[in-house]
Amino acid sequence: MIDRILNSRLAPLLVLAFLVAVIPLVAPSNFYLRVAALVWVFSIAAFGLTILMGYAGQVSLGHAGFLGIGAYSVALGPEYLGLDPLVSLCLGVFVSAAIAWVVGRPILKLRGYYLAIATLGFGMIVSLVLNGESAITGGPDGMQVPRATLFGLKLSGSATWYWVTAGVMLVGAALALNIGNSPTGRALRALHDSEVAAAGTGIDVAARKLNAFVLAAIYAAVAGGLLALMNGLITPDAAGFMNSIELVAMVIIGGLGSVVGAVVGAAFLVVLPQALTSLHDYEQAVLGLLIMVFMIFLPAGIVPTLRRKMTERAA
């Protein structure tokens, strides 16, 4: 029984929808809703890496760069082009996808460590531009982001943003799950295991990697845009190296290739720092230690390891 539910295709989506529905019922204050909304936003970015790293096996250490492009688009569009913030978000997503397509073509020829360093370089360039072009981007101080309105409804307040981000997160999860269970998903997982054999079945390896890279950039840009709109402020830190590393850590801690795992990983890295603030100076050290402990005892990631344990018990 448990096995059947766990293996059903809808199961991950049902689990996530359940979480979304229950959290507002048990959250003692709006602060908790705000933290949960942050979890949903980072989950969206992590879904992109689930496709890129989990399915296709291609690492990106500069993914916050795309997140930054999405985030700054909702600040830059209204400021300089007079666009509506949500229209700017769409434009930012498009720009992010286009940049991923141009950058991805040459660098996805690289493998393993070399690809990691090339994507790292990309993230650094975005971060440098956002920090350096202070006349346009406000430099390290960042930019104000105007409030967005959707169908005449002003998007403000923790509760509103909770539902907006949760909705987008669920759609993003559904799309990532769809891809996983499709010819495209099989092609990505195939080239993850053997590029030679994948090409040997007629898969255009370079084109498929580029698909995954562009999809991941779109997810990151959507997440970035939502983050900026929710906070009403954006700084270059969003596109920084630490953020890129945290995104990678999320999908690995949660479980590579698992959509629910991406959310669990995002929750781990968003909620824990909040919970550990009482430790003051030791916060970062304890967080690092916890990551190490989890990786040692759950090397396949939290969700895949727990799922295996549950199916074993059911059997």
Partner: protein, 262 residues
């Protein structure tokens, strides 16, 4: 008419001439074997033919069209599919999924429909799953369908690769040591499988060290030594060719071949 025609091809690595001026042609329904001692250039020849290595010497034609220089995934589109000497399996996918990937080119779906999970994708998945199961049954691996490929025994993986290759409905199928590491029973199964594939009109090119197998199922044999063509002919001719016997088979091999011929 020959389906695959290789003319005067060759390649050098540094100063070493790995394959030197080799020609052969294979017709539909034929089993054409390439034999030779280790290092004779058999797999290198495969790599030239299937686009893994690029060379400007000679030519490779498929159904009369020059295909030299085409990337491997484009050659698959033209009907040329291969298996690998050192297994190239998708180890983290199940046996069934491995074969499903083989249907990649036949699947009608786009990135967008896959993202949206349209009903057409579900239909495509079902069709591919059924076709892949049928192929697994054909190679005798249906029992392994749901297992991760990484957990299958070696002999089964060899057949899994063949099933995946068959999924692409090849016109020319190149098999690199399909019976290597297999026991007598598995080797017999592969024997039947290959003759079955060829009788379906596929041109089969085979690299194999198991001389019993080669002598039993080949229509013609090409013998390579040090990258050069040593002899070519029917199993009968090759077995009695004194140059081949001394250079490659040795006395023991010759006896074994004679016994297989019965």
């Amino acid at each position: 008419m020959s389906l695959l025609q290789v003319e005067n091809t060759g390649i050098s690595f540094g100063g070493l001439v790995a394959v030197d001026n080799v020609s052969f042609s294979v017709s539909p329904g034929e089993v054409f074997s390439i034999i030779g001692p280790n290092g004779a250039g058999k797999t290198t020849l495969f790599n030239i033919v299937t686009g893994v290595y690029r060379t400007d010497r000679g030519s490779v034609s498929l159904a009369g069209e020059k295909v030299a220089g085409l990337a491997p995934h484009l050659l698959v589109k033209r009907g040329m599919v291969r298996t690998f000497q050192n297994l190239q399996i998708f180890f983290r996918m199940t046996a069934l999924e491995n074969v499903m990937v083989g249907f990649h080119l036949a699947e009608r779906s786009s990135l967008l429909s896959d993202l949206l999970g349209l009903p057409s994708v579900s239909r495509q998945n079902r069709a591919t799953r059924e076709a892949a199961l049928a192929l697994l049954e054909r190679v005798g691996l249906a029992a392994y369908a749901a297992m991760p490929a990484g957990t299958l025994p070696y002999g089964a993986l060899k057949r899994l690769e063949i099933a995946r290759a068959l999924a692409s409905e090849p016109k020319v199928l190149l098999l690199d040591e399909p019976a290597a590491g297999c026991n007598a029973v598995e080797s017999e199964a592969i024997d039947n499988l290959i003759t079955g594939i060829a009788s379906g009109g596929v041109a089969v090119v085979l690299i194999e060290h198991d001389m019993k197998l080669v002598m039993r199922i080949s229509d013609r044999i090409l013998v390579l030594a040090e990258g050069k063509r040593l002899a070519e002919g029917t199993p009968e001719v090759i077995r009695h060719d004194p140059v081949v016997v001394s250079a490659y088979l040795g006395e023991h091999g010759a006896r074994e071949a004679a016994r297989a011929q019965g």
